[in-house]
Amino acid sequence: MAEPVLSTSGLTKAFGGLLALSDVSLTVRPGEALGIIGPNGAGKTTLFNVITGALLPTAGEVAFAGRTITGRPVHEIARLGIARTFQNIRLFREMTVIENVIVGRHSRGRTGFVGAILHLPGMRREERALRERARAYLDLMGLADHAERPAGSLTTGQQRLLEIARALASEPTVLLLDEPAAGLNTRETEALSALIRRLPVEHVRAVGLIEHDMRLVMDASDRVVVIDRGRKIAEGAPADVQRNPDVIAAYLGADFLAQATGRAANGEVRRS
């Protein structure tokens, strides 16, 4: 098996007494889309936050492309090649759609304060190149017609796509998507699913996907990891995970499961 692109080992994050993450170890292999599911509040977004450097772990390590990246600042990790989208859309609403994508490509530019103030010729060339590439990503997402509109004026579905375009613009190695289908209708979700399936093939080396929409996760993921109350409770192929009783219990509660199946969590047969 090829070396994992991204891996965490023993990742723990405590907020005072609350253990948001507890000893989470997982790997993302090259060419795969890894689904990450779990009930609300399980710690999935916290996991992304720790991986991308937005939060410092209490214990554990994050390794990316063979390097330890635990504790490095957010912008450095972004430049190394991990891009992400946000659960609660964090677009630059008052900038235009294309400007959002151009900012996504920030790490590929070089013009600094001095170059900008002096308006050096190299800067103009760079601006044009940035803009062209940004437009290509907008085309990919079907947003090219809206390039000059303020990002805040897009629909939720379009905004989610724009966030993905912005994340892709930096040509990352790993793309982490945090609930990209939230707020999308069925048709939009299907289109998103097709897009996500193409990503590890055409654009990035691997994708991490947090989602609640089970159909999307099952369609688009190669493997699935289940997090509940900060711990990894299951891992494997989507179909297997779906049938795992621990997973079902986590989502629906052990009592409900017992009622539904006639058995309690410890296997005792109960009468409903």
Binding site: A78, A83, H106, H119
Partner: protein, 379 residues
């Protein structure tokens, strides 16, 4: 060509560069219609102005501006040149502070300290060491950059408005030094005899030349500000203003960007201070205190920081009001401090009705909505 026309022409050319919606600029232009109005209190610098102006109106505006700028020179009035110079100096600092407030979304409550640093550096070095003015200005700039970095680096790493507190402290420390360290600054007596600004053999001695120099410096400052908007670092700043998290995820070094814009705004204020020293010929602690720092912030809020012209408008308004009341206050006593009251009132009115500042002037949002509804109802 006589010097009057030369300066007027320079001013006109400067104005044409600065007009919003300059043709030929393809980056960041919004085609088709104004965008949704900003939600926050107008403290965001946006890309080229939202109003669509016809070429004729633009030319008319440019000519009018050039005419206004040229008035003190044409009338050969020392009084007008002096007023114009003060407006120009205040405008430079206001534009500089507007960069910080509009982009990084941070407030500096001690910008007068950098203004004073530049003024005193120039005054001390030119009167005691006979330093050439340009060198003294440069020394002021370097010293200011150092102080701004020392204050800004720790403050801007933190999330929240710590810079306001740090700069508040800095402003007070600076004020105390200016007032108490007599060996250096001569305390309240101040330092007199600052020579006019000089570039090799050209001495900006007359009121007109002094004023022209300041207009040129203001134009330069505005060009710097505008160039910054339409650039990669400018975009990064606008992005971090909206979401530091997302900007960081795009690879923007947020703390460093904020620090850079803070240092830039401090350095520009220092240059303004040096120009002040050369223009007035005398520096004392009074103009560089906490009061002026607050007045600067008010200038920007009232004028608006959505584009380069806002702080200029705010500075002009403030300076004229201040001047008028000071002159009137020589006859009627209580008018002297009325400017504080009036400016405070203006601040409240502007924040309520025109959060983007006066430069975005149209009907107040509420009245505009009513007008639009009436239109739609009738159509």
């Amino acid at each position: 060509m006589n010097p009057t026309r030369a300066v007027a022409l320079r001013a006109y050319r400067a104005a044409s560069v600065l007009r919003p919606g300059r043709p030929g600029r393809t980056t960041d232009r919004r085609a088709g219609g104004a965008g949704t109005p900003p939600r926050n209190g107008g403290s965001l610098m946006t890309a080229p102005g939202q109003a669509r102006r016809t070429k004729a109106v633009r030319i008319a505006g440019g000519v009018l501006l050039a005419a206004i700028v040229a008035v003190p020179i044409v009338t050969r009035s020392g009084y007008l040149a002096g007023t114009g110079s003060q407006i120009g100096i205040n405008a430079i600092i206001a534009v500089a502070l507007g960069l910080l407030m509009g982009y990084a979304g941070q407030v500096s409550l001690g910008h007068a300290a950098f203004y004073g640093l530049g003024a005193y550096s120039t005054a001390i070095l030119t009167t005691r060491l006979d330093a050439p003015p340009l060198l003294a200005m440069l020394a002021g700039v370097l010293l200011t950059a150092l102080v701004a970095t020392l204050v800004g680096a720790p403050a801007l790493r933190l999330h929240g408005h710590y810079l306001a507190m740090f700069t508040l402290g800095l402003g007070i420390i600076a004020q105390v030094i200016m007032e108490q360290v007599r060996s250096l600054t001569n305390g309240f007596d101040g330092i007199a005899g600052v020579p006019p600004f000089r570039l090799w053999i050209v001495s900006f001695q007359s009121d007109a030349l002094s004023y022209g120099l300041i207009v040129a410096a203001l134009a330069g400052t505005m060009i710097v500000a505008r160039n910054l908007v339409h650039s990669r670092p400018g975009r990064a700043l606008r992005a971090l203003h909206e979401s530091e998290e997302a900007a960081g995820a795009c690879g923007v070094d947020v703390a460093r960007a904020k620090l850079k814009v803070f240092v830039l705004s401090a350095v520009l204020a220092s240059v303004a201070g040096s120009l002040y020293a050369h223009t007035i010929g005398f520096v004392s602690p009074d103009p560089f205190g906490f009061r002026f720092s607050v007045e600067l912030v008010v200038m920007i809020v009232v004028g608006g920081s959505a584009n380069v012209w806002g702080p200029v408008a705010g500075a002009a308004l403030f300076t004229l009001l201040h001047q008028f009341l000071r002159d009137a206050g020589q006859r009627v006593e209580f008018l002297d401090n009325l400017d504080t009251v009036l400016f405070g009132a203006a601040l409240v009115v502007v924040v309520v009705f025109w959060p983007k500042g006066l430069v975005s002037l149209r009907l107040p949002a509420r009245l505009r909505l009513r007008a639009r509804r009436a239109e739609e109802g009738g159509a």
